[in-house]
Symmetry: C2
Amino acid sequence: MDDRRRLLQQKGCIVWITGLSGSGKSTVAFAMDRILNSMAKVSYVLDGDKIREGLCKDLGFSAEDRRENIRRVGETAALFADAGLIAVVSFISPYKRDRDIVRELVPTGNFIEVFMDVPLEVCEERDAKGLYKLARQGVIKAFTGIDDPYEKPVNPEIVIKAVNEHGACYSPDEMARIIIHHLSEKGFLSDRVDGWNLPQNPGFVSRQDPLVGPNPPELRSYPGEAEAGVSSKAGLSRSGETSKFYGRGPDRNFATELASAGEMSGTPPTSAWSGQQAWMDAL
Amino acid sequence: MDDRRRLLQQKGCIVWITGLSGSGKSTVAFAMDRILNSMAKVSYVLDGDKIREGLCKDLGFSAEDRRENIRRVGETAALFADAGLIAVVSFISPYKRDRDIVRELVPTGNFIEVFMDVPLEVCEERDAKGLYKLARQGVIKAFTGIDDPYEKPVNPEIVIKAVNEHGACYSPDEMARIIIHHLSEKGFLSDRVDGWNLPQNPGFVSRQDPLVGPNPPELRSYPGEAEAGVSSKAGLSRSGETSKFYGRGPDRNFATELASAGEMSGTPPTSAWSGQQAWMDAL
């Protein structure tokens, strides 16, 4: 396992992106995959398109089949994480119990739950695939958010809102970098094991993404951190530490704090920089 | 996909190792994994231990469940190959039809079937897990080779015999290097796409395994090639090319030719070098 970590200079994990249809899960997942690749990090996206036509093509959409679908996706993601990859999973996965089962498949801390906290009204207004319309017409039954429940994560590692406090949409890359920065902070993008530096593998040399910043242990806070005024309403992450996000936008510095889900409800993330790209267009 | 290949400097594929219980499938698989890792190549072993207790823990050993087991393993391996990894699968997978279904899941040529051509008598004599004894006693029903058939591959990419023409056992590393050399010859261990060199990724630098030899396109034949006398009974591989193996033993050069399964029956591979390690002890 250490050999694998030394080779890839990263630590395998599952980034589990959950949220309503149209909340931008896959958009963020593929943006992450692209940015990580540019950083010489190895990730792989598992989403409905890949799974439903292959591994789970024998399954339908009954409650039982949905549960089995998520179970298999979770087991597969756990194999990818064991292989040392950053497995990025993009599934509605509406039931808390099913997500918690997957969390238990990997070592503590290696499951990063990302909640796309986008209101139903926004998702339904986007309706890029026309599914909400069909669900409202009753053509699609048991559609999550319409006539089937979505159970919000109680204490996810990361919450991503559709818009910042100024009402501006985040771009896919901005959202992806929030998650990647978390991975970086938690040591998933380096080969440090339990605080010790493994002997450097001369074969692989990590590269930095200029917007995500350097990898640990050289993690710096940017000048924008103080001026952006990190909120005092910091949520506690699972480990009891304050969960923060420091990053840098294309034209000026910014710092965003990600609070835990409970405290985030109705409280857009603090940000001194407003995204300019229309994210909804990218869906 | 090219990004991924450039990053990893390898081409994803499935190495499917099939054979009777006790034929050495997992031993070879893990030896491959270790050697590839030392070459800075990224592989992952899928075997019964990982799959039966996770992804397929809902399945038993009925004919139908065995088929579904192999289907899921195949779909998962195809995802790993799509992710750019060398997926090394070690399953008895006794039915030709099931293996052929997996072959179709990946692009032509990216499924490398490896037949562990070890006679039942040898496997039963080893009986490392004591399963053959239980099968003979009737405690285990429908055991492959005893009271359930094993359908030999008709035209596998690689056949590995238990012993060379001198009756000496191959070591796990020797067998692994036969497969790795095939991967190298077929271009899976480089980032060349359709004969073109992609721009070198400065992040990753491949390393050579001293016993496998350099990667393409610098593949050399060793001095031992001629003296070892490559057999004229060359089997044709699927692509119509002669399938050969050039390698180098720890103390002298050797060349081994791998004929196709049909021609291999009863014909040990030509080798000028006899393995010294007792492979069976390693099981």
